[in-house]
Assembly symmetry: C2
Homo-oligomer: 248 residues x 2
DNA sequence: GAGTGGTCTAGACCACTTG
DNA sequence: AAGTGGTCTAGACCACTCC
């Protein structure tokens, strides 16, 4: 049996987590089977229950086990066939890849009407809509086109560089009476429309990744919609699920 | 100041989390600003430091704050412009939408060679490759085509229904000497090839969502590759970021 | 050296499940 | 009634940051 080394630089809860992870991945503990109870694990490895629990919650986060009050903690089905895609803001995403981002404002307009898809999402016009559209660049090359629609009262000027440095939800919070607290996003593939294709420098009809984002207030009214079209050859999402870094 | 109700059904750490979340979303605590120290929060709300920490770790998980040892805990930039897409196995995903899944095995073949893209991913042929290809259905309608390549020794028969009920990583673990412990997946858009388009009942060239999954052993050798093509009108990913459910 | 977050302990009470 | 996980407390030591 592996023991906990209390003089190690890696803390006990993490050591125990790698021990248990090894048993699960190695098949010693099979899906559906219960782990020893928290008290038993504490006795076995000479750790307090709090520490055991911290370890188990780490494994649960990673989808390896799940706890059921009153019953026990059980090994989950293999989690390698899942994927987790974290989509950051464009600037952040590209910075992570070491690329310089730029942007070009294509349109800013005050509109009285919303496009049909926005109405279908439950958004209302009210005092009017501010629409803007930007081309997003990475290392000088076009990567995405974004279209934004937000509820807006005329006469509250927005500086152009706000589009650049503030998140959409911030802009709405600052320039309207609405406070977005919820965001729902949908990701699919689609054919590039003529308009977007032109700015992306691709042929119309080329596949693009489409991200649609809807921001809601606390009472679940949509107050902002963003639609992104990404060139499929310059933007993709990556998920990496790996075992815990084991150490002494 | 909001107080903690110790007789409530919602536990104190959760109550405190909603209190702090409200202050952050409402702008009372602005991005970059420090929260009160854990000890101070404990004194202020009459909770132990452990409980305060549990609350803070909940907010940190949700991206609202981040802690820095020795410095303090700080409010993060607005997180509404992020998105989190969790991609489950096909069966699980469709079950969540209340759909019945089915599948049709298109090909199973023992191959001596790998396609070029697989070689580029660092996969080696060795004793040979098992290739199979399935059509995935939801409520009788074609949704995706998957192609799988795994290192494989001849003469270890696989039952057809294993493809149906076991995850790819399980099949590899059972039928080869390799144990996948790491999975890397990439998501993009692409044009449907003739082959896939036919089975998906769409025109060749139609945009599809492409997911490519590579399974690695502990020493980071690829042992299995899966490629999925999803009809964009029948498959999309959804992310929903909402505030904590506040209660008494 | 004072203050911060990171970890750990030992013990307690609760809600839930099972025999 | 016994055992399980869920929550909380009070106190301790450590590593880190900043003055």
């Amino acid at each position: 049996m592996d023991r906990i080394n209390k003089n190690s630089f890696t803390p006990p809860f993490y050591q125990l987590a790698t021990i248990l992870e090894k048993k699960i991945l190695g098949g010693e503990l099979k899906p559906g089977e219960p782990l020893p109870s928290e008290n038993d694990l504490g006795r076995e490895y000479e750790l307090s229950r709090t520490t055991v629990r911290k370890c188990l919650s780490l494994l649960a986060e990673r989808g390896l086990i799940s706890a059921q009050q009153g019953r026990g903690t059980f090994v989950s089905r293999p989690s390698l066939d899942r994927a987790l895609f974290v989509m950051e803001e464009f600037n952040v995403h590209m910075a992570q890849e070491g690329k310089q981002t730029g942007q070009r404002l294509i349109h800013v307009r005050f509109r009285k009407e919303l496009p049909e898809f926005a109405l279908n999402l439950g958004m209302t016009t009210d005092d009017g809509i501010l629409y803007y559209c930007r081309l997003l660049l990475a290392d000088e090359e076009p990567v995405a086109v974004e279209h934004k629609y937000m509820r807006y009262k005329k006469g509250r000027p927005i500086l152009e560089n706000e589009f650049q440095y503030k998140a959409f939800s911030e802009i709405i919070a600052i320039h309207t009476d609405f406070l977005p607290v919820r965001s729902q996003a949908t990701l699919t593939a689609e054919s590039a429309a003529d308009f977007d294709a032109r700015f992306l420098q691709i042929a119309a009809g080329t596949p693009v990744l489409k991200l649609q984002q809807v921001l809601y207030t606390g009472d679940n009214k949509p107050v902002g919609i963003g639609v992104f079209y990404y060139r499929h050859d310059r933007y993709s999402l990556v998920s990496d699920i790996q075992p815990l870094k084991g150490e002494r």
